[in-house]
């Protein structure tokens, strides 16, 4: 039952060119970089079995503790690879040049990674959290048999959408109605379960959608996106792990912009939209309005699964088609900070 958009998401991949860090090179000459195609919905530690053979002859003796960096920034291994790429490369770099380390794990910055087990635990934990947000409880994930959980994880690890599609119904995740098919499916009983809170009259009111928002803020406008400077540390990114409360109003469409603005209230209102127009009928308020507009920030760019999103797209479509296998929607946003 997987639709085309979901297929594209699962097939999405980032070409990586992985260089061994020079302090880990114990051979002469130093080894050439490894070229790996990394699934967008996957995680960097899962690539290690493909990468290690390239470098094993060059490594100094001792135990491995593997981690990656991009331009000196240690990469958080529990963030899907595609999200890291969308967030850290303002201008997409192909292939994406990363450095791999086999020693000197920065444990004051990165939580430890004990290989596939850690990645799997992180995935299951995120899945539980997402289910709690959508269904109001995580009992379906908790009650899933060990082997079903294993198979679900394996399907994600292998990028096997068919296997995943057969297993995910066992999670009984309530669905978010697609804005377009809303009227047609309004009468069907299953569309009203779980995800939405009903008021006394039985009208669908609010839904909660799992979202992870990664915000990069810049202070000035740039002519070209490639001129946006890279981050030096993760403190340059604001991370928000909080659900979007999806308020359904008759006759109104809840857009991606509405969703982002609900998480970042100080970016409400697009300066570009209002600045050129005759916004102020009341001239007395012009100065005040100017000041207010200057205070508003501006959403410059929103990327999901590598796509630069038009903000007016219905949020329900975005969620249903672009979320990751753990039912989280990861959004990388570039904003221009409000001027104060």
């Amino acid at each position: 039952m997987a639709n085309e958009a979901v297929k594209y998401v699962w097939e999405g991949a980032i070409p990586l060119q992985i260089h061994l860090h020079k302090s880990d090179v114990a051979s002469h000459p130093s080894p050439p970089p490894a070229l790996v195609l990394a699934p967008r919905i996957g995680y960097l530690p899962l690539l290690i079995p493909h990468i290690k053979p390239y470098f094993k002859d060059s490594l100094p003796p001792g135990e491995d503790s593997i981690w990656f960096d991009y331009k000196g920034v240690p990469l958080k291994w529990y963030i899907p690879t595609g999200v890291l790429f969308d967030l850290l490369c303002a201008e997409p770099e192909r292939p994406w040049n990363l450095t791999v380390h086999f020693r000197g794990y920065p444990s004051n910055i990165l939580i430890p990674c004990e290989g596939e087990d850690s990645v799997k635990w992180n995935f299951v934990n995120s899945l539980k959290e997402a289910q709690y947000i959508i269904n109001g409880n995580c009992k379906n994930v908790m009650n899933m048999s060990q082997s079903d959980q294993e198979d679900l994880w394996t399907s994600v690890m292998n990028g096997d959408l068919d296997a995943y599609t057969k297993l995910s119904p066992k999670l009984k995740m309530a669905t978010i109605e697609d804005e377009f098919s809303r009227k047609a499916s309004l009468s069907s009983p299953q569309s009203r379960q779980g995800a939405t809170e009903m008021d006394v009259a039985g009208q669908i009111k609010t839904a909660r959608v799992p979202v992870r928002l990664y915000v990069r803020s810049i202070n000035q406008d740039f002519e070209n996106i490639e001129d946006v400077p890279g981050i030096d540390t993760w403190d340059d990114i604001s991370y928000l792990n909080r659900p979007v409360e999806f308020l359904r109003e008759e006759g109104k469409c809840f857009t991606l912009r509405n969703a982002i603005e609900s998480l970042l209230p100080e970016f409400i209102g697009d300066r570009a939209q209002t600045s050129g127009e005759e916004r102020s009928r009341d001239d007395d308020n012009t100065e005040e309005a100017d000041g207010l507009l200057r205070e508003m920030g501006e959403i410059k760019l929103a990327r999901i699964q590598g796509i630069e999103m038009k903000l007016e797209i219905p949020f329900s479509w975005v969620v249903n088609n672009l979320m990751n296998p753990e039912f989280y929607l990861h959004i990388s946003v570039l904003v221009k900070a409000p001027q104060r």
Binding site: I109, P112, P210, L240, P265
Partner: protein, 224 residues
């Protein structure tokens, strides 16, 4: 409709958390003179958030823990001493036995609101005087023995090491699953008296359970 003033279903709204946090910090200061006060860290300083209501978390830092020998099970709470300042000697603490490494262990505690689960979550970390972080194995030796045995039963679902939601650093976290169930149990006494638990008491009740895991006891007076 929940006005945010009462605890429903054992969970909190974000506004309720702010109210409960202030009430908790005030009661702590009044009844728990032997420990430093909790401070409120607004999120405005750390992220781009500029919400109508002030969002933030509670912070209690630089708590000096001196662990006792395993045989001494009389008092399950930690021997907590306050560190007045870096220059002065700590005031009025009893060193029963130095911990095995013969060094001081310091702990930071943060009570952070989880928007996903709508409950508070306890994050903590330990470090020595040089600032080096303590591993879970070392921390376990500082914890009361009952929570250590719970830890041993399930590696992944009790105390876990995760990234702090706002500080980009590894912290230890007390898993929130199940919180609303035991808060509901705790609030049964209010319900049988004919009223819901007021939100101001949420964190006090919550911490009366959670604090024990990390060895921080709260005086009974705080529960009034």
């Amino acid at each position: 409709m929940n006005s945010g003033r009462e605890v429903i279903d054992g969970r909190l709204t974000v506004e309720g958390f702010s109210v409960a946090a202030r009430a908790f910090a005030d009661k702590w200061k009044t009844h728990n003179q032997s420990l430093p006060p909790w401070s409120w860290v607004p999120l405005i300083n750390r992220t781009l958030l500029l919400s109508n209501q002030e969002e933030g978390y509670l912070s209690l830092e630089n708590i000096l823990i001196l662990s006792s020998l395993e045989e001494s099970t009389e008092d399950e709470s930690l021997n907590v001493a306050t560190e007045c300042s870096e220059k002065e000697e700590p005031v009025d603490h009893t060193i029963l036995v130095q911990n095995q490494e013969n060094e001081a262990h310091y702990y930071d505690f943060h009570i952070v609101y989880s928007a996903s689960y709508k409950v508070p979550v306890l994050y903590f970390r330990g470090y020595c005087s040089g600032g080096q972080p303590l591993s879970l194995d070392v921390i376990k030796k500082d914890l009361p023995s009952c929570s250590v045995s719970l830890l041993l039963q399930s590696k992944w679902t009790f105390i876990t090491q995760e990234e702090h939601p706002y500080l980009n650093r590894p912290w230890f976290k007390l898993h929130p699953c199940g919180t609303e169930d035991w808060i509901k149990l705790l609030s049964q006494s209010s319900i049988s008296a004919g009223c819901q638990m007021p939100v101001e008491l949420y964190l006090v009740s919550w911490f009366s359970v959670v604090g024990q895991v990390v060895g921080l006891r709260i005086p009974l007076e705080m529960l009034n």
